[in-house]
């Protein structure tokens, strides 16, 4: 009986230990993913702006020549 009680206590402690490692059920960290999303988006916008600038119509400058 004592052995059974001890076993139950140990298993309860193990469950509690797992719960403490899981935390409050919220994802922790992840700023790397956030930074990657914003970084990729800004980089793509900058590259696309450069491509628009490179392809801009140059009729006005040509007509001056």
């Amino acid at each position: 009986m004592i052995a059974l009680t001890s076993l139950t206590s140990v298993s309860s402690l193990m469950v509690l230990a797992q719960a403490s490692s899981v935390g409050s059920g919220r994802l922790v960290g992840g700023w790397g993913y956030v930074g990657a999303c914003y970084g990729i988006t800004v980089a793509a916008f900058v590259l696309y702006s450069v491509s628009l600038w490179a392809r801009r119509p140059r009729a006005a400058s040509d007509s001056k020549e």
Partner: protein
């Protein structure tokens, strides 16, 4: 108007996007379950909204072109497709990055993701078609038809999360979201709208200049016929 496009719109874009993203990254609270990872919403959701809007503009311009042919509507359709593809691709990439910590995978053949992938492939095909057809009139008509067919997928993408059991969450509303999350999302969305309009205006000007050059000087265009090409080069020489 030109001054506004040159200075006002870029300033408005930078101001709104900067403010919206600052609010989203530093001011808004972390999500109850997703924590700080949820801050990806302030870039992913506006990107997807603007992609859908640009593709809808492409659809309207294509229908308008078929009803009343004009190089302006053809140029608008082309620009909207390119800008929509840019925003949609970025929306998909940021969504995949968000999926990794929350779903455990970057990609899943879920109805929303699959329909979005088909949408991006359709608009890539639209732009490829425009590259392959040299005759401006044929190109405009054929691509308008493809744009209309491609747009059938727009409501499918939007409603996929409601029609089928999807891993992707359904659309939220301001009633179900913390006001401190609604404000950054709205500001970032208006910033993204300003950027989309800015890109659209510049891309439209490029497309219209190309159309006018093609129509004005058809003999100056490169041709696949070697005999004609030789004749053209001798003319230049």
């Amino acid at each position: 108007m030109d001054k506004f496009v040159k200075w006002g719109l870029p300033a408005l874009t930078l101001g709104l996007l900067g403010w919206g993203w600052w609010l989203g990254l530093a001011w808004a609270p972390p999500d109850r379950e997703m924590g700080d990872v949820q801050r990806i919403m302030y870039v992913h959701v506006p990107l997807q909204w603007m992609a859908m809007l640009a593709m809808f503009i492409n659809f309207v311009a294509a229908v308008t072109y078929l009803m009343r042919q004009s190089w302006k509507t053809d140029a608008l359709a082309e620009s909207a497709a390119e800008v929509g593809l840019l925003f949609g691709t970025l929306g998909m990439i940021t969504g995949a990055i968000w999926g990794r910590p929350t779903w455990g995978v970057y990609w899943s053949w879920d109805p929303r993701l699959t329909s979005e992938a088909i949408l991006l492939v359709a608009y890539t095909g639209y732009l490829v078609l425009r590259r392959f057809v040299e005759d401006p009139e044929k190109r405009a008509v054929w691509s308008a038809v493809v744009a209309i067919i491609g747009a059938i997928n727009l409501p499918i993408v939007w409603f996929s999360v409601r029609w089928w059991r999807s891993l992707h969450q359904t659309q939220s509303s301001p009633k179900t979201v913390d006001p401190q999350m609604v404000l950054p999302l709205r500001v970032a969305a208006f910033g993204m709208l300003a950027l989309m309009v800015l890109f659209l205006v510049h891309r439209y000007r490029i497309a219209l200049a190309e159309r006018r050059a093609e129509v004005a000087l058809p003999e100056a265009l490169p041709t696949d016929d070697p005999a004609l090409r030789a004749a053209q080069s001798s003319k230049v020489a």
